[in-house]
Every structure is written in structure tokens, then in C-alpha cells.
């Protein structure tokens, strides 16, 4: 036939046809979008097909926990061979589906406490592991080769048309919804409440297939709350060095703080130490970070102009709502978080700072522990050079000038900083000749050792001894000695070439507190703008409402 290039006719809308078939099967269970909680298992058995790719929404805060549990209760005769593509494995039900043979393939980002059991299921062959991703990678693959056929999401409220309100914990929902709804997938939302009218529409109802009101509200854990009461003098000393030796030095205004006591200490001495140095308005104005309660004093004292959040934090809702100049707030008055945008904003910021468990002599770092598979989460996308960046800032240009580069073309450089004590829990040295990640790679047959931040991305290491500026190291040998030069009394630190470290110190590749005008005797808890959760409540004018477990009043 003229003008016809195809040799065989094929249908181009099989996904859409299949989608209609699934909905037809569900019509025996519900006439509309709202499904009774008691019918959920039957619904899942009707709309999911063997071999489907399934996403169960879950991150370090909210989880579609009821739907996860229902999936684990489905019949393995009806549902089997599922391929789970989800960011966070945290609940027992997430692994029950593998134990019961409902699912057998897994692509994920982060497992945490379930990592031990997951390691066993991998050993037993019940989980065929695809890859361990960062959040951005996995969600990117949702729009490429890992698009879910069925996704479970968690929302705060829904109306009868399926319009969803995700409240302050929007987090990963938009990414999952977008990928599923526009590729003829089935989207099932678990909600805490059914309402006549949602306070704001975070997900339009016509993208949503079904809504189930869970018997219990989805569980949210306050994982970003760090009690100032347990911040140590050593952490305060390191925070002082970060402010003087990096933030002031490079004029860092846009940054991302990893979550931990080290970064909490930085946040809590902004209104004291940094204020006394006259740095207000010059550093730390825009952050990509969750609404950590330890940020309150810096916000209240006028340091911070804007914060975009990947998720929310329990107890911070009223405070965040009342600071709409700083946070991103909907017209309903609650925050809108979004993990993808927060990750992107952090990726293009001037600096990332976070902690790790092990650093080797090339500056590679890993949080892997030998017995379990934990994974990555978001740190690698924050903690890397942003090579696509084109806009300049003074700190970015300065870092670019410091870094030796072949050729004549000038470039800027993002700062990637690791802040660690030389010894961790149980006197385990942070600095090692060989990362445990290598052993983990062998044990689980991973294609690469699980490295959180690569040495080539890292620019600075801060320890209680001082700061190593890896940009100023011209050879791998200099880099190694600069790392040894701040590694304290660890075996790696004790094996330093003292003469070479002294030379590196002269050119600023190794700096000790006195080299940057930091007086260690000031490193006391008196420097903290808040020394307790109660102080944070006071700073917030009573708006911060900490969970009961953090109270001592």
C-alpha cells in the first residue's frame, strides 16, 4: 500500500485499554471513587495484575501504610511476580509482600531499619534486587523505564470526586501521581479524612482512580527534630569552624543542610556566634531543608530569608504557617512541600554540608554498615558538584578559582562539605584506609560500592581538628595528606607526613582553629541560641508544638 510504512498493524493504546479493563473489574466493588476500607484487599486484587510494577508511597516521613498492609494480605495466587518500585522500605508490610511471594523484584532508594531483613530476603532469593537509587534517580526512572502500573499514595483528605489535599506533607506525591496518572496507571489514595471540600487541591480528582479512608491516619514520624540538649561542645567547635572557615570565607548564602546534630549546632549558633561576627545578611539566607525546629532561632533573628522543604516536621505546622514570608505556603495556610523541587534547589545551591560514617583517603564517604542494605535517599544529589550550573555567585566563583583545572576555561564550583568527628560511636574511626562499602559490594553482589559522596565531588572536610580544603590540593598525594592532617588521633591521622601537612597548612589546604580565628575556649553550650526544646518553643512565641517525646515540661 502506498504511504504505509508499517509491515504489521499494532494497537497503540493497549495501556489505556488495559486501564479500562481494570476499572471495569473494580466496578463490582465500588460505584464511584470512594472505596470502603473493608473492601480494599478485594479492590487491589481486582485492579492489580501479576507482574505489575507497583509503587507504594513512602519516604522518611509519611507512608501509605494501610494500603501497604492490604497488599501484603492479598492472595499470592491472584497477585504474584509484582515489581515494587518505591523510594523507602520502612514498614514490615513492605517486606511481607516479598516473603509471601506477592512480589519478587525491587527497585528502591533507602531501607533503614528494615535493611537487615531485606539482606536476608535477598540472600534467600525472595527479592531480586534491581538497583539502589537516589530519590531523584528513581523518580526520574518513573518517567522512563520504571513507570508504575499501580501506585498507592497517602494524602490528608479527599472529597468524593477524588480531589486530594496532601497538607504540609506533600513530599513525593506529585512525582508519583504524574508518572502514574499520565501513563494509564491506576492511582489509589489512602486518606485520613473524607471531606465535602478539600482545603486546597494538591492532586486533581480526575487523576485519581480510587480513594480509601484508612482506619487510622497515616503514620508520621518526627525524624528531623534534634534536641539541642544533647549537642556537644565538640559539635559547637566544628560549627564555629564551618561558619568562619567556610560560610564567611566563601560568602555562602544558598545552601542545603543535611539532618544531624552537627548541622543543628551550626543553625543554633547563627544568632550568637555568626551575629557577633557581623554575618547576618551575608550568610545562610536560603535553605533547602525540612522545617527543622533548630532553625527557629535563626529564622526569628532574621538570618534566614527563605526555606523550601522536601517534607514537613511534626509540631512545626503552626509555626511554619505563621511564617509565610519564609516558607512556601498555600492559600489554605498550610505548607506545600515537594521533594523533587527541594532536591533540585539544593542541587543548584552554593553548598551542601552533611555528616557521614566513613571517609577514605581519596575523600569518598559512605554510611554503609556491614550487616545491612540501607541505600541512599537524597544526600548524593545534594552532595555533588552541579555540572549543569551556569549562573555565578561569589562563593561559587572563588571555589572555581581554587580548584586546579586543565585547560584555560574558567568555571565555578559548588562546595560539598562533610562534617565529622574523627571518632564515631564506640570509638570507631571515621577515617579509614578502605571503606566498608567495598565489603558490602562483595557480600551483596552490588555493581559498585555504595558511596554516598564521591571524593571528586567533595571540597571540604571539617573535623574537630580543623578543615581540609581539597580544592587546594594539586595531587592525590596532597589530598591524602590534607585528609590525614585533620583526621586527629585515628590511625589514618597518626600516619600523617607532618612536614607535608605543615606545607599544606601554609597554603591553606589544611587549617586549624587558630588559622581561621576560632577560639576553641568559646565552644561551650552557652553559645547555643537554644539549649533545649523548651527554648525553641520560647523562640517560636509558643507556635512550635513539639511531640510529647521531646518535652520535659
Amino acid at each position: 500500500m502506498d504511504g504505509d510504512f508499517t509491515t504489521a498493524r499494532r494497537a497503540w493504546n493497549t495501556l489505556e485499554t488495559n486501564h479500562r479493563e481494570r476499572l471495569a473489574r473494580a466496578s463490582a466493588i465500588t460505584g464511584g471513587k470512594v472505596v470502603d476500607a473493608a473492601d480494599t484487599v478485594a479492590l487491589l486484587e481486582a485492579v492489580i495484575e501479576p507482574g505489575d510494577r507497583v509503587c507504594i508511597e513512602g519516604n522518611n516521613q509519611k507512608h501509605a501504610d494501610f494500603l501497604a498492609k492490604c497488599l501484603s494480605q492479598c492472595s499470592p495466587e491472584r497477585l504474584h511476580g509484582l515489581h515494587i518500585v518505591q523510594s523507602n522500605l520502612a514498614l514490615p508490610a513492605h517486606l511481607d509482600v516479598f516473603e509471601r511471594g506477592i512480589a519478587d523484584r525491587l527497585d528502591f532508594c533507602y531501607s533503614g531499619p528494615q535493611g537487615l531483613r531485606m539482606g536476608r530476603l535477598v540472600d534467600e532469593g525472595k527479592i531480586k534486587l534491581g538497583a539502589i537509587h537516589t530519590y531523584l534517580e528513581l523518580y526520574s526512572r518513573y518517567f522512563c523505564d520504571l513507570t508504575p502500573r499501580v501506585s498507592f499514595i497517602a494524602a490528608e483528605a479527599a472529597d468524593a470526586d477524588g480531589n486530594l489535599y496532601t497538607g504540609a506533607n506533600t513530599e513525593d506525591t506529585p512525582a508519583i501521581v504524574e508518572a502514574t496518572a499520565f501513563k494509564s496507571g491506576i492511582l489509589i489514595a489512602q486518606v485520613n479524612r473524607l471531606v465535602d471540600r478539600v482545603p486546597r487541591v494538591d492532586v486533581p480528582g480526575d487523576w485519581v482512580s480510587f480513594v480509601v479512608q484508612a482506619p487510622k491516619p497515616h503514620y508520621i514520624e518526627p525524624i528531623f527534630t534534634r534536641d539541642p540538649a544533647v549537642i556537644s561542645e565538640v559539635q559547637i567547635l566544628m560549627a564555629m569552624m564551618v561558619i568562619r572557615g567556610i560560610y564567611e570565607e566563601y560568602g555562602i548564602t544558598r545552601l542545603n543542610h543535611g539532618i544531624g546534630f552537627d548541622t543543628a549546632a551550626i543553625e543554633l549558633i547563627l544568632p550568637t556566634y555568626a551575629e557577633d561576627l557581623g554575618l547576618k545578611g551575608k550568610i545562610c539566607q536560603y535553605l533547602s531543608v525540612n522545617p527543622c525546629p533548630t532553625l527557629i532561632p535563626a529564622i526569628e533573628s532574621g538570618f534566614i530569608e527563605g526555606i523550601h522543604c522536601a517534607g514537613s516536621e511534626l509540631g512545626m505546622e503552626a509555626y511554619v504557617s505563621a511564617r509565610s514570608d519564609v516558607f512556601f505556603i498555600g492559600r489554605d495556610g498550610t505548607m506545600r512541600s515537594n521533594r523533587i523541587f527541594c532536591q533540585l534547589a539544593g542541587h543548584y545551591a552554593d553548598l551542601f554540608i552533611g555528616s557521614t560514617l566513613q571517609i577514605d583517603l581519596e575523600g569518598n564517604s559512605s554510611t554503609a554498615t556491614l550487616s545491612r542494605i540501607t541505600g541512599f535517599g537524597g544526600a548524593p544529589n545534594f552532595g555533588c558538584e552541579s555540572r549543569g550550573r551556569r549562573h555565578a555567585s561569589p562563593g561559587w566563583l572563588k571555589a572555581g578559582r581554587e580548584q586546579p583545572r586543565p585547560g584555560t576555561m574558567p568555571r565555578g564550583r559548588k562546595l560539598v562539605v562533610q562534617i565529622v568527628e574523627t571518632f564515631g560511636d564506640g570509638m570507631a574511626p571515621t577515617f579509614v584506609e578502605r571503606l566498608d562499602a567495598w565489603t558490602l559490594q562483595e557480600r551483596f553482589g552490588l555493581p559498585l560500592p555504595p558511596v554516598m559522596v564521591y571524593g571528586e565531588d567533595l571540597t571540604h572536610i571539617v573535623t574537630e581538628e580543623g578543615i581540609a580544603n581539597l580544592l587546594l590540593c594539586e595531587t592525590m598525594e596532597e589530598r591524602e595528606q590534607a585528609i590525614r592532617g585533620v583526621a586527629g588521633y585515628t590511625p589514618v591521622g597518626l600516619a600523617r607526613d607532618r612536614a607535608m601537612v605543615e606545607r599544606l597548612r601554609e597554603k591553606g589546604a589544611v587549617r586549624y582553629p587558630e588559622d581561621m580565628g576560632v577560639d576553641p575556649r568559646l565552644a561551650t553550650r552557652d553559645l547555643l541560641a537554644a539549649r533545649s526544646i523548651r527554648d525553641l518553643v520560647r523562640w517560636s512565641g509558643g507556635l512550635y508544638d513539639p511531640p510529647a517525646r521531646f518535652r520535659n515540661w
Binding site: T272, A529, A548, R549, N552, W553
Partner: protein
């Protein structure tokens, strides 16, 4: 802005003493250079402290002579071992000789040091007896509670045997600790992780509303000092009549609050307006809830 307060809660025993006593007035008995350390801990492979976790001595508060003991809550949770207990008992017995304006006990303790079980229990009895002897001699004994460990176990009974108790809201006072109650009675009875509940049932505000603490002060060493100074040389009678009256009052209290499951219910029955707001009240607003000293005396 920064908290300019000298936090009592944060301070070590020795910093509390430095803030409580007139400058340069402290003379320590059995100082750390004497190395009167626990004879029991080394056998158990546990590190000792040169003062066995308590500093005792004499000094002045606003010019008035006192004897004082400060427990170090950071060492074994302030728990009382043999040497630790003997230092406190010896201090109290010295009060019978020197008759200061008061004996001040800065308590920060979980009670008996389990590693030294019998010796610790005996020490507790000796301290208790010495407190009563000192009071009988007409010398005021004042307890202060506002540290990390609160005041639990046998030392809670010692505290309640004193003339006065000064607390901050961070302070806790109870016989059994939250974890012990949960272990013995079950999480339905008491969830030790629910720290707000712990403070509603054991915290400084609750103890003040029940009349067990005589003053509730901000978490500030100076505030403790002022309150303690106000109670110097103001002994309470320790006669049979006074003890009978106290017994009757406690029996009536037991009946009045029977069935209460939470401090909030107790406060409601006490007639506190908006009892749910009590935990979030500032110290001044909280103290305004209480009857004036004149009313309280009736």
C-alpha cells in the same frame, strides 16, 4: 538574642555550687584530691569519680552560713553509693555541731546506686535519719531539684523529709521512675515515652500544685539561690502533732484524687482554671495560679 540564664539544669554540680554560694566562700570537705572513690565500682569494671559523684562542704548564701551537698547527675545518674552517701550523712551530722542557717541538698539522682546495693540502701537510711535529726535540732534542711535526673527512689523520700523543696519545672520528683512504672504496671498504665505525661505526673509544676514543693522557680541558678535564701533558718515543726496532721492531710488527698489518671485531672479537681494549659504556662503565670502566701498559711 541568646539565653543569658545560667541554666541550673545544664550546670554540673560544681557549677551549681559556684552559682549558689557567695564567691570564694566554698570550702570543700573530702575534696577530690583525697580520692575518696567507690571501693565497689572497680571490681565491676565501672569507672570511679574522684568525689564519688557528690561535692560537700560549707559556704555562705547571701552572707549566711550553710552546709551544702551537690550531687553530680552526670556520674552514674547521681546514684547514691557507699562513699557518696557517707559524705552526705557526715555533712548532715556536722550540722548538729556547727548549727548553720541551713543545710542545702542539691539533689539530682535516680536513687540508690544498684552496683552498691546494700551499702547504698544503708546509706539512704542513714541520710534519712540524719535529715530528721538535723530538723529536730531546729536547723532547716532545704532540697533543690532541677537537674536532668530529677529526684527518684530513696532520695525522693529524703527530699520529702526536708523542711522545704525548691523545684524548677524541669525538675521531677517521684519514688518510682517512669520506666520502672511502665515495666511493672504495663504501658497502658504509664507510657514512659510520653514525656509530657511524665512531667504532668512527676514534674515541678505538678509537685508545686500539690503543695509538695514550696517554690517553683525558673531554670536559673540565681533563681534557686534566691528561693533557697528565703527558706534559710525557717524550720518547720517536726512534732508528733505536725506529723499526725500531715498524715491526715495525705490520707484526705488520696481520697480526693482517687481515680485520677493524669495530672490534668488532679489540677481540675484542685480548681485550676484551664488545667490543660498548665504545662505551657510561664513561671510567673503559673505562680499566679497559686494562693497567696497568706491564703496558703490558713
Amino acid at each position: 538574642m541568646r539565653p543569658a540564664r545560667h541554666s541550673y539544669y545544664e550546670a554540673t554540680a560544681r557549677r551549681r555550687l559556684a552559682g549558689l554560694l557567695d564567691e570564694g566562700s566554698f570550702r570543700e570537705y573530702c575534696p577530690p584530691t583525697m580520692r575518696l572513690t567507690s571501693p565497689h565500682l572497680p571490681a565491676l569494671g565501672v569507672p570511679v569519680a574522684f568525689d564519688d559523684g557528690v561535692a560537700v562542704g560549707e559556704g555562705r548564701v547571701q552572707g549566711r552560713p550553710v552546709l551544702v551537698a551537690a550531687q553530680e547527675g552526670g556520674f552514674m545518674g547521681g546514684a547514691v553509693g557507699e562513699v557518696h552517701g557517707a559524705k552526705i550523712t557526715g555533712l548532715l551530722e556536722r550540722a548538729l555541731d556547727v548549727r548553720p542557717d541551713g543545710v542545702v541538698l542539691l539533689l539530682d539522682t535516680g536513687g540508690v546506686r544498684l552496683h552498691e546495693a546494700n551499702a547504698g540502701l544503708i546509706a539512704m537510711g542513714e541520710i534519712q535519719r540524719a535529715v530528721l535529726a538535723v530538723r529536730h535540732a531546729g536547723v532547716s534542711v532545704i532540697a533543690a531539684i532541677g537537674g536532668r535526673n530529677g529526684c527518684y527512689g530513696g532520695m525522693s523520700m529524703v527530699a520529702r523529709s526536708c523542711d522545704r523543696i525548691v523545684m524548677s519545672e524541669e525538675g521531677r520528683l517521684s519514688i518510682s521512675g517512669p520506666e520502672v512504672i511502665e515495666t511493672v504496671e504495663g504501658i497502658e498504665e504509664f507510657d514512659s515515652q510520653d514525656r509530657a505525661l511524665v512531667w504532668r505526673t512527676m514534674g515541678g509544676k505538678h509537685r508545686r500544685l500539690l503543695g509538695e514543693a514550696d517554690a517553683l522557680v525558673p531554670d536559673d541558678i540565681g533563681a534557686f539561690r534566691t528561693a533557697i535564701a528565703g527558706f534559710l533558718d525557717r524550720p518547720r515543726p517536726i512534732t508528733l502533732d505536725a506529723l499526725m496532721a500531715e498524715q491526715a492531710r495525705l490520707a484526705a488527698r488520696l481520697e480526693r484524687f482517687a481515680g485520677c489518671r493524669d495530672g490534668v485531672e488532679v489540677w481540675e479537681r484542685l480548681g485550676v482554671a484551664e488545667p490543660k494549659r498548665v504545662p505551657d504556662l510561664g513561671i510567673d503565670a503559673f505562680n499566679a495560679l497559686l494562693p497567696s502566701p497568706a491564703e496558703a498559711a490558713e
